[in-house]
Symmetry: C2
Subunit: 270 residues, 2 copies
């Protein structure tokens, strides 16, 4: 297992033009790989972020076009690639899953995670979203053991539910992914605190790759993608434009934190 | 139920002289009441913070001298008083409980909570504590329904365990107490983030009353007592000296946050 390597989060301003989204995402993943990243994380709905009705009608199967393209990209660049999320076709009429895909450096699909917690919120005059009208919730807590460490998968609104990250830690998770389209209003108030808290309480790396800017019809996302270490320190942070941020993952550092402050072994409640 | 009232956190620099500690704590609680606080929260081990061997040998029964004094103080000032924690005699030889006491404005003991998670940490050259050698852990998750709201009790190191606060929220907790002696090193890295995360993810008020300064034989605590609202905003913060901080508790505000962003009803994992 590689004890030390570079990881990257890609921050995007995805809209409804899927080809343009894929082109920009591919370009930034290539940039990350050129800078030496062995692990690259894309944000939620990186291949298309807009009206839910469009997302659902453009949902893909897995394997399918976006999934194939991402597997090929990972293989070409010889990187591990967390392909943020895409809308995945579901059996339920008029609904899709919001699904995260993890590819290894050989291009094979290692893990698939369907968002468990859906974002239904009504902040009058600021944010109104009814994700559960359009998205089918998943129910499988998902980790993946790889040569780069044990990954724990989560998506955006999941971040508000500490019990998910406890389950990921129970399954030996060491590096948590949070591909997101966290809104500007809730992001400003909660994004950094919750990302850092998940890192601190589980003594894990957290890579939060967020969307930024405006998206149709009226969503504004927060940017500020973050890579945080197991002591809760911010290793890298994006501003509010499209960007690649990089930071060193050091699994020795993680083991040291877990040994010196053995909170994960001191849990007394389920 | 009072929808709006003032709450206070008292920050102390307690040492091993119990009478001096009680005198200073009493003075600051009186100050808080004079400023209009109906709820006052003292820090962990407010009546004596020093060598564990001394804490244990000075442990008291409940009722007992400190407990009686605090009940009388609450009654005299007609306030609800969370008497931080004291060392409470236990059946186990050479050990005490680290116990938080809640008194109503009539001076009656409403709730007693014994610290569940004990602080055993070894940060070489910075912090070494073996609380579990001296303290007997409690095992009862404790809430109290009062005219000032539903309180959830916790102590210091408990803050690292989100599952405790989920239990408190399950028991209708709205205002969480975190009397603490959080060290300077771990406090700087984790105190504010964890206090705010518990508030945000449970949409609850959190009152963290901390110790500050140096304590025998070689402990340094972080101060920075905080009162945080259910949106995660910091309403009041102390510096690193003894102090009283005040903030408005508004249970309408809490209900509004829980309604607009109904994350507590959207939990899908235990």
């Amino acid at each position: 297992m590689s004890a030390e390597y570079l990881a990257a989060a890609v921050q995007l301003n995805s809209g409804e033009d899927k080809r343009a989204c894929l082109r920009r995402a591919t370009g930034l993943v290539e940039q990350a790989a050129e800078k030496g990243a062995q692990l690259v994380v894309l944000p939620e709905l990186f291949n298309g972020l807009g009206r839910f009705s469009r997302l659902v009608s453009a949902a893909e199967s897995i394997p399918g076009p976006t999934s194939d393209a991402m597997g090929q990209l990972a293989a070409r660049l010889k990187i591990t690639l967390l392909a943020g999320t895409i809308a995945e076709q579901s059996e339920a009429v008029g609904r899709a899953y919001n699904t995260s895909l993890l590819f290894g450096p050989d291009g094979q699909l290692i893990a698939r995670y369907r968002k468990i917690h859906l974002f239904d919120v009504h902040l009058p005059g600021r944010v109104t979203v009814d994700e559960s009208r359009w998205i089918q919730a998943g129910d499988a807590v998902t980790t993946a053991a790889t040569p780069l460490g044990n990954f724990g998968l989560s998506i955006c609104y999941d971040l508000r539910f500490p019990e998910l990250y406890r389950r990921l830690a129970d399954q030996q998770g060491e590096i948590f992914f949070v591909p997101s389209a966290f809104t500007r209003v809730t992001g400003r108030a909660h994004w950094e605190v919750l990302i850092r808290a998940r890192a601190i309480e589980n003594q894990a790396y957290v890579i939060g790759a967020n969307q930024c800017g405006r998206h149709p019809p009226d969503l504004e996302t927060y940017g500020n993608s973050l890579i945080v270490d197991p002591w809760g320190e911010i290793l890298a942070r994006a501003a509010d434009d499209e960007a690649v941020i990089l930071a060193k993952i050091d699994l020795q550092r993680l083991r040291q934190v877990r040994q010196q402050l053995p909170a994960l072994n001191q849990r007394r409640l389920n």
